[in-house]
Every structure is written in C-alpha cells, then in structure tokens.
Symmetry: C2
Subunit: 248 residues, 2 copies
C-alpha cells in the first residue's frame, strides 16, 4: 500500500498510463477498502492505489463511481466503470484471477457458502456493535459491549471447531481477510472504553492466537497500521478535521 | 410452492424420508424466501418446502438454524446445518448445480460483479424506501416516495442500456430473480399511498414491460401471489394477527 496523498476536490484524475494494472480507489484508513487491498496482496496482483479524500471528494471521482464510495476497482480496458461493494469486489478478484496460485475460498460450494454466511454474520454481530461503541455521541449504548463479545464468541467457537490456525486452514482465506480489518482495529476500543480494555485471554484464546498469526501474514503486513496510527486518524475524525494524510 | 401450513411452537419437525431432495425452510409471504424458491424453480431442482411461523417459531427450528431465520436451506447428507442469507443461498444453488441447463449469472466475472452490485443497490435504493413507505408508524416519511422512484430509475435505465427484455438477456437471470419479489409486491404501496397509486408508465416503461414478462415466467408463476393476496397478509400483519396461513 503506497503512502500517496488523498486526492480531493479540485484535483485532476491521476494519469497512470496503459500498463494493464488494476486501479484501486481507496482511503488509507477505510476497513472496507483494506479488504480489497488484502485480497490483491494475498494473490500477488500488481495494482495502483489512488487515495480519495472522502470528506472533499474530487469532482471527477463521480464519473468513476456514481456513489462516490471506496473501495472501487477499475479494470484496464473497462475504463469509466468501476466495481464497488467490498465483498463483490473481493469475489470478483477471486473469480477473475483463478490462475493465481492462491485460492481463497473452499472448493466445495457448501463450505464456501458457510464462509460467506460467517462474513455476513460478522457484519451484524461484530462490526455493528463495534461502531456503536466507538461512535455513539451519547456514551456507550447499553448492551453494546455484551453484544460485541457475543459476536466474537461466534468466531472463537468457529475457529475452535475448525481446529485450524486460520479459518481458511493452514493459510488465511477469504473469511480471514474479510474480517481482519476490524480485528486489526479492535484495540481502538480503548478510545471508548479506557486504557484497561483488552480482549479476555481465556474467552478469546483462539482468536488472539489467530490475530498474532495474521499480523505476520505478508498480505496483512502490506496494509497494516498500528493501533497508535489508527487512533491518530480516529482522533482526527472525531475532531471533525478528517486528516486523511495524517501519516503522509 | 406448496400450500402447507406454517409450523409453529409445539410442532414436531417434519419427517421427510431420505429422498435426496433439498429442504427449504420458508414463509409463504417472505420476499427473501421467495428469492430462493425462484432460483430452485428456475433451475428445475426438486425440493421440499417447510413453512415456518415466524411469530411463534418452532422450538426445533433453532437446531436447524441458530438465528431462526428464513430462508434456510438443508442439503441432504448435511443435516443439522442449514445455509441461510438469501443471496448466499441463491449463489450456493447456482454453484452447486452447475450441471443444470439454466445458468443465472453471466460467465464473464466482470459482468457477474456488475449484476451483484445492482442486487446490492436494489437493497438500499428500492427495498429500504419501500419498507419505510409501507411500515412507518407516523405516516409516510418525507422524501421516501421520491427516493423510491429514484431507486427504480436506476433499474429502468439499466434495462434500457442493456437493450434486452430481461436483465439476464433473453431469459431472467440472477438479477431478475433477486429483485422480483419486491416488484411483485409493488402495488402493495396502494395500501399506504391510496388506490390511485401506480408506477408512471412513461418513466418506468421498460420496467413495466419487464414486469409483465416476468409474471409469465414459469419459475415466477410457481410462487406468484396476486396483490390482493399480498394485501390480505399485510393487513393481517398490520393488525398484529400475523396469519401466515391466510391462504391455506
């Protein structure tokens, strides 16, 4: 992942030449965009990253993506139409680059469907209470912390039942990468819950082992940010400053 | 689709024998469950339907599906684990039964991704304002009718650009079937908006032609309910009676 600046209103679209590489429109701290970086990096696919300032979106960006969202993926030869929705883009990459060594879904459609169900459940069971804890203006909503723990229980139990280091087996697969961005950011909860917050080492033993392994994964390393850096951006966001280039 | 009764609390799980058929847990009026009926019927796959009373869920159903949701699909040989989430189940069927003549996604991964993006957009752009119009307790929320129309515009334009009768080409494909259940129910808006409500014949000309064609599709016919029957259930739902067996 490059450290380029985020393009904003008044910018001109980057000129990249016809080198046949994919172009990923991203934001350095966006967990949904990170999903797509992870899949491209896991499959060793070369691509350009173009960072977008989401508070002051470049006018030209709406020609690339009518919703102005990131992540969005531009495929050479299909200019002026981007693919978006992080899960759809991740699945697209998996299907469009089957020749790459790394297969991220189980071959059995039933097992693949089970992984996709868990990706969906992570949304409601973990991501949703996570954001409610972090961003509620009125203090932490009652029940949100319990709900967050109960959500993580599902993933602790699943990893235990699979008996493997990763959800994908002996290497991270699609499920690992799709849930990773929020797991990388879990210690951000200290921001809302105080410095003593930590995941219970007994209750989430497998998940914590998994997190340590994931942090060392080559693909994860390429987009990884420390809790300190995530916190810097969160503070900038909460202050209304939204400094996307805080690390540049 | 059968006309069996909806099983409720206190019922016993149905005994179906080992005939190798898929088992679909459904609710007669649920548009998400209808998505899965449509895919199974489009591909001419034989299956059993077990209707679940969603207000008084059978105790045994939580062993089949921890969330107690419909649709859920049980695959012979994989008892006690169901697949759920309508889009995941639809994709599973498409992948697990590739030998069936009917292919519901484009072969090109890029085009497939575009269809999946439109399915996601339908959620936010059409289904969301649809339910806000129909179920707001305080009258129709400002802007919801405009939003609903703007959402449908996307699908009108898309069909015009494709220049085909169906989104899937000369036959309905995944996108057609995934958005159909709410299009079948569109005249239910009369319930909230009054008898004179209708889709603008100029603005939505292509969509209305498409709707007429879809109504005649064999797979659609198998689960189709008239606006009159959808209205009966809606009334029963709004009154708190929730009579799932209103047509039996």
């Amino acid at each position: 992942m490059s450290n380029g600046k985020h393009l904003a209103k008044g910018s001109t679209p980057p000129v990249l030449g016809n080198d046949g590489k994919l172009r990923l429109y991203s934001m350095r701290f966006c967990p949904y965009a990170q999903r797509v970086h992870l899949i491209l990096d896991a499959k060793n696919i070369a691509y350009h990253t173009i960072y977008i300032n989401l508070s002051e979106k470049p006018e030209w960006y709406f020609d690339k993506n009518p919703l102005g969202k990131v992540p969005a993926l531009e495929v050479p030869g299909k200019e002026n139409i981007t693919l978006y929705e992080s899960l759809v883009v991740a699945d697209y990459i998996e299907e469009a680059f089957p020749d790459k060594q790394r297969k991220l879904y189980p071959s059995d459609p039933f097992k693949k469907a089970q992984d996709r169900i868990l990706i969906e459940r992570f949304n409601g069971a973990v991501i949703s209470p996570y954001y409610r804890i972090l961003f509620s203006s009125d203090g932490i909503p009652p029940g949100a912390i319990t709900e967050f723990g109960t959500g993580l229980d599902i993933f602790e139990t699943e990893l235990k039942n699979r008996g493997t280091s990763y959800y994908g087996g002996d290497k991270p697969g699609m499920l690992d990468y799709m849930i990773w961005p929020w797991c990388e950011r879990v210690d951000l909860l200290k921001f809302a819950l105080g410095d003593k917050y930590e995941l219970d080492k007994q209750r989430f033993g497998k998940l914590l082992q998994w997190r340590d392994l994931m942090e060392k994964d080559d693909a994860v390393q390429k987009s990884f940010l420390s809790t300190e850096n995530h916190t810097k951006f969160l503070q900038s966001r909460k202050s209304g400053e939204n400094n996307y280039d805080i690390l540049s």
